[in-house]
Symmetry: C2
Subunit: 214 residues, 2 copies
């Protein structure tokens, strides 16, 4: 078949990451060693090299995220697509669970009553989980804004924020709130992101921890 | 809060599409009328205006896709993330069902035995569904290649192909196979795509058909 090259299934991912690394080299982009596997997985899931420039890590973010997962932290996300994509098996092997409350009818009815988004109410609900929680926001800036409001209004703080909502309304500003905060976080500056990117960031860390354990 | 503007939940999407339209106008891009709602939803889900240039529609594609859904066609996708994202309720209201066979243990074991991808076996499996099927490929180029091989080897043909796999190995070539074919299709030229984009394309049509029906 025209221009189709046979690559063995188990080699497709490896080959993809080699191409990504080669193109990063050609562009003269050197990723910090600890961040590389996350940034490259975001590029792998989107075929978008912008992530090499826009993914923004707070100090020591990758280590903090790894330690949280190793110690059984939960992950809360704002989309069922990200929940589907996150490797829940590896997460569970460390004692963590992944949640998305967006389809919960109680969340929907409270959101409607209060005139706020379901994402916003979901995050408030998640803030009551009695263990460290990693927030992986892949869709709604209102989820990030809601986490930030809770932080400023109460003593509560998220253990970690993966902030990669996508879109056009308040997306950039909601991300800047966290870049300027002292919350450990990985944020994609600008408009881009998505549930696929949120899942990819979680999985990059989960796969690496899974391998270290073998 | 800094730079955060309050937008009522029910207005966020409307506002987003206004911004997308405004920026398309500024770029001098005029989308064909029937394609506009699909292309704009792909931009909405990715914040990536490249889709305005790379989404490629075969002749009369949007009408064909609408008619298929109206007549109860099923959708088969190559990722559980896309399956999660597709509005199955609206699809079901027309008599269609959405499927993803990727997590099926039989598919996995057959793929391993034959040294091919699960996506490839999934598509072969889907080709045996005894009604019109829309293939929505958001991840694996091997899914597209497998559909194409079936077409050339047998009399079978897919009713429609949404071909938006993402990545670096055979992605571009697998898409060109369909652009050059006589299969009704919507293909995103180049490396970009994803399960979010596959779901967005399905949903653009489902939402419009859902509204028309009200």
């Amino acid at each position: 078949m025209k221009n189709i090259e046979f690559v063995r299934p188990e080699e497709i991912e490896k080959r993809s990451f080699e191409i990504i690394q080669k193109e990063l080299d050609e562009k003269g982009i050197v990723l910090p060693k600890d961040q590389a596997m996350i940034t490259k997985r975001a590029i792998h899931t989107s075929a978008d090299f912008d992530y090499a420039k826009t993914l923004t890590y707070s100090e020591n973010a990758v280590n903090i995220l790894k330690e949280l997962i190793k110690n059984g932290a939960d992950i809360v996300t704002d989309t069922n697509m990200a929940l589907t994509g996150i490797n829940k098996k590896v997460l569970a092997s460390f004692g963590g669970e992944a949640h998305c409350f967006m389809a919960d009818p109680d969340i929907a009815s409270e959101a409607k009553k209060r005139g706020v988004t379901r994402a916003s109410v979901s995050m408030e609900h998640a803030s009551m989980i009695d263990k460290p929680v990693i927030f992986a926001v892949g869709n709604a800036p209102t989820a990030l804004i809601s986490i930030y409001e809770l932080m400023t209004r109460t003593d509560w703080k998220p253990a970690f924020v993966i902030g990669v909502p996508v879109g056009f309304v308040n997306v950039e500003a909601s991300k800047e709130l966290f870049i300027a905060s002292d919350v450990p976080c990985i944020i994609n500056r600008g408009r881009k992101g998505g549930s696929n990117v949120a899942a990819a960031i979680c999985n990059a860390v989960l796969y690496e921890l899974g391998k270290e354990r073998l």
